[in-house]
């Protein structure tokens, strides 16, 4: 299967890539990451040997870009990605408020699991840990929330 012109690749993959980036980063950061994802894809495009699995390839690049962003965010801020500007404000606002007291890693894991509906594998990738560690951080966060008196 031949590598299609980049135009076709970009048209086919832009929706799924943006969806994944918004899931991992929220709306504003996703826009920057979107451009970076396709620039990386464009740089690597001549090295592709065939046109199979392009969706998986695009999403892998997007994930790597998002991880870089998250690493930078964690390096510069104690907060998880800014969620104030995300599409559906209510549940996120709720989660944001509920999880405000959690340790950072647990808060991020709970957010990514319940706010963004990511798999533990994706959460692990986002947090730079294994999927098992991501699962543990999530459930430990949830246990902590349950122990708390909720307002």
């Amino acid at each position: 299967m031949r590598v299609p012109p980049f135009e076709r690749f970009y048209e086919d993959q832009q929706g799924p890539v943006l969806k994944q980036l918004r899931g991992m980063l929220g709306r504003d950061a996703a826009d920057d990451a979107f451009q970076e994802t396709f620039l990386r894809a464009l740089r690597a495009y001549p090295t592709l040997q065939h046109g199979r699995h392009l969706r998986a390839w695009a999403l892998q690049i997007a994930r790597n870009v998002a991880l870089d962003v998250l690493r930078r965010t964690r390096a510069t801020s104690a907060d998880v990605p800014d969620l104030a500007s995300v599409d559906e404000p209510l549940p996120y606002e709720e989660l944001r408020r509920l999880t405000a007291e959690l340790p950072q890693k647990e808060r991020a894991a709970v957010f990514l699991r319940y706010g963004y509906d990511l798999s533990y594998e994706d959460i692990g990738a986002a947090l730079g840990s294994s999927s098992e560690a991501a699962r543990q951080a999530t459930s430990s966060g949830v246990r902590r929330l349950r122990r708390k008196e909720l307002p």
């Binding site: 799924p16 979107f34 464009l42």
Partner: protein, 188 residues
């Protein structure tokens, strides 16, 4: 999920600005219809009538490399000059053309074609002679028919030995329109 036009445009501009494209193309409306205008680092590599962008992207990728993207900015200068031409404000194009995909004889003929002045016509036979193959009028016709950059390389100025328009890849109606614009319609 839908990508906003702003985000889309930003990426398309950035891809060109970083020099990552083998070919940038854009669609452009003119009095002879919508043209697809494509450029490489070497110049304008394609102008086509009635183009199906998907099919053209495939063709361009085979000829110049797979990094083909619709990206307006690199095509701005060519499209600006085309507008000036159709407004009657430009007689000569000041554009590099990329003929790497053409064969040797084709390149020689197209080089001669580029010298046919605005508002004048020549014949297939004359062009063949100038390209060093006086008996190759028919082959010249084929080169004209496959001219990758019509209008800029003026194959509309090549007519039959009797002055009849003969043929045009974009259709005779367009050939007539272009010659009329230049005030060069023979037998008018």
């Amino acid at each position: 999920m839908t990508v906003s036009p702003q985000l889309d445009r930003r990426f398309r501009d950035a891809a060109a600005a970083e020099g990552l494209l083998d070919v940038a193309f854009e669609l452009h409306d003119t009095p002879v219809g919508r043209l697809l205008v494509a450029v490489t680092d070497h110049g304008v590599c394609e102008i086509s009538y009635d183009a199906d962008p998907d099919a053209e992207a495939e063709r361009l990728a085979r000829a110049f490399g797979s990094r083909v993207l619709r990206s307006p900015r690199p095509t701005d200068e060519a499209r600006r000059q085309l507008d000036e031409y159709f407004d009657g404000k430009r007689r000569d194009f000041e554009l590099e053309v990329d003929l790497r995909a053409a064969r040797e004889f084709g390149r020689a003929v197209l080089a001669e074609l580029a010298r046919v002045p605005y508002g004048e016509v020549t014949t297939y036979g004359t062009l063949a002679a100038r390209a060093g193959r006086p008996r190759a009028a028919r082959a010249v016709g084929t080169v004209m028919n496959r001219n990758p950059v019509p209008i800029v390389l003026p194959c509309h100025r090549v007519v039959g030995s009797t002055g009849s328009l003969v043929g045009y890849a974009g259709g005779l109606e367009r050939k007539r329109t272009l010659l009329e614009l230049e005030g060069a319609l023979p037998n008018a």
